[in-house]
């Protein structure tokens, strides 16, 4: 069983593009990925596409074939939905298809148009990833759900809003050179602490923005890449996915994300690596506390110790284990259905040296992507490694 190669990737600029249709956003990213890959479009055999709220934001379901058409392909196309982990779940389908020999070339991607419906309606649309009966009807929003997790974390392990502010500061700083990032603005700890509260203890700078954008990648079998002389040094060597109860109330711990533990264990086992081998990670920091929970579930930190990582400088670009060199969801932006593939693109570009923050890990060979849906009721983890 060979490991799929990342032949090319493309992302749109993330940000507010309310006038751009989802199909136009995905066309830009998908065509960029095809161009970078050097793959003949006639060789593409399937599309796996992540999207979460297309019905609500664009009154558009059945987006798989629409998006294949948008990038000039006539192939079986399937939309994958796992809330904010939709694109991560799409990657997993692509990897399985390539590994089992059904396809030699697959396009994987995702897109989300969100700002066209405004902040209130987007908040409402995002909330449907929670349990409608037991959470949404009790006023739960996604900032609210992560605020419950943050307060529980502080109660169990310690930590403060100031610790979370250091995560926001780090990710904003990382995004300064990312031309695709939605927010390229340096902030201070004081800025984060003084920002308006959304759901206490979380404030504006603990939360990722609402984003329009798309991401895509062309994955091929190792054999196809060799036969066609592709410049594709990065392989997806491990894939994992975990699940959990949809509602926080049905979980034994509010300050742990076992779906991510399970996904990481499976992905590391698949790749034959351990957490100690990871050189850098892109994790799903939809809220600052989510980065803490992610790096603990990935085994990069013990429970209760991830909270101090950014404050101590360990996860900054100058630290031993950089996290979210792209700026993360926090600053790069979070077009929900595209995020997992945008993470994959970042890792591929860091590993091949073409990312503007690649200098943070000049000898890096192993990157990990953590993509979480809802309050981490769905998580995918993918391991990517350099395979010359």
């Amino acid at each position: 069983m060979s490991d799929p190669r990342i032949a090319g990737a493309g992302v749109t600029n993330f940000g507010k593009h309310p006038e751009r249709t989802g199909r136009d956003l995905f066309a830009e990213a998908g065509l960029a990925a095809l161009d970078e890959s050097g793959v003949d479009p006639e060789d593409v055999e399937s599309l796996y596409y992540g999207n979460f709220m297309g019905e609500l934001a664009e009154h558009q379901g059945h987006q798989g074939p629409l998006m294949a058409e948008a990038i000039g392909l006539d192939v079986p196309a399937t939309r994958v939905e796992a809330a904010c982990a939709s694109a991560g779940a799409a990657i997993r389908e692509a990897v399985k298809t390539l590994r089992n020999g059904e396809s030699e070339v697959v396009v994987v991607g995702g897109a989300e148009r969100m700002t066209n419906i405004g902040t209130a309606a987007a908040t409402d649309a995002l909330a449907i990833a929670a349990d409608d009966l037991y959470e949404v009807r009790a006023g739960m929003t996604f900032p609210g759900a992560y605020a419950l997790m943050a307060r529980s974390y502080f109660d169990q392990y310690g930590g403060s809003h100031e610790d979370l502010a250091h995560i926001a500061v780090k990710n904003h700083e990382h995004a300064l050179v990312n031309e695709h990032a939605q927010i390229r603005k340096e902030i201070t700890v004081e800025d984060a602490l003084e920002a308006p509260t959304i759901a206490d203890p979380l404030g504006l700078y603990d939360s990722c923005p609402i984003t329009d954008g798309a991401a895509a990648a062309v994955l091929t079998t190792e054999e196809y890449a060799e036969e066609h002389g592709l410049d594709a040094p990065v392989a997806v060597t491990g894939t994992g996915q975990g699940g959990d109860n949809l509602a926080l109330q049905d979980r034994p711990h509010l300050a742990q994300t076992p779906a991510a533990d399970k996904a990481a264990e499976e992905a590391y086992g698949d790749a034959g690596i351990g957490a100690d081998d990871v050189d850098f990670a892109e994790v799903h920091d939809c809220f600052t506390i989510a980065e803490v929970l992610a790096i603990e579930s990935l085994g990069l930190y013990e429970r209760g110790e991830g909270i101090a990582a950014a404050r101590n400088g360990e996860t900054t670009r100058h630290g031993d284990l950089p996290v979210n060199l792209s700026g993360g969801l926090k600053a790069k932006g979070h077009p929900v259905g595209a995020t997992g593939v945008a993470q994959l693109a970042t890792i591929a570009w860091v590993l091949d040296g073409s990312h503007p923050r690649a200098d943070a890990v000049p000898d890096g060979t192993v990157g990990v992507a953590h993509n979480a849906g809802g309050t981490v009721a769905s998580t995918t983890v993918h391991v990517m490694e350099v395979r010359e």
Binding site: T123, T141, A147, D155, A199, Q249, L254
Partner: protein, 128 residues
């Protein structure tokens, strides 16, 4: 949502709380669930019995939400909390307490209230 079809066992569960007869579902191994639920996720037992919900629970975590969805626009700011009632935990809105005074470990009772914005029923926690 009064002109829509009820949500089966969920609305029946709210009715039971309003009637002072709140319940949860329990499998033979003591795992608790809220309706609708046909099978225990932990042990796959399908013989779930209806048990009386404890009168009081403890707040496990809480947050004051200042940026709500449009369906809670007139309710904000409000405190959403998860409270531990023993075999099950429940999510609801805390009323009858200053948001700044709500704390983890607070003992609360469970009742059914009304959402200010839409008039829909909702789970309300009230300090005991």
């Amino acid at each position: 949502m009064t002109d829509q079809a009820p949500d089966g066992q969920y609305d029946a569960w709210l009715d039971s709380i309003e009637a002072g007869d709140g319940y949860y579902l329990e499998c033979e191994n003591g795992h608790g669930w809220l309706p609708p639920r046909r099978v225990c996720q932990q042990c796959h037992d399908r013989d779930l019995s209806r048990e009386r919900l404890p009168d009081a629970g403890e707040i496990a975590s809480h947050t004051t939400i200042t940026v709500p969805t449009p369906q809670f626009e007139d309710d904000a700011p409000y405190v959403t909390a998860v409270a531990d009632f023993g075999p099950v935990s429940v999510t609801g809105i805390v009323r009858g307490a200053d948001p700044g005074d709500v704390a983890i470990g607070d003992v609360v009772g469970l009742e059914v209230g009304e959402r200010a914005t839409t008039g829909d029923r909702l789970v309300v926690f009230r300090p005991r």
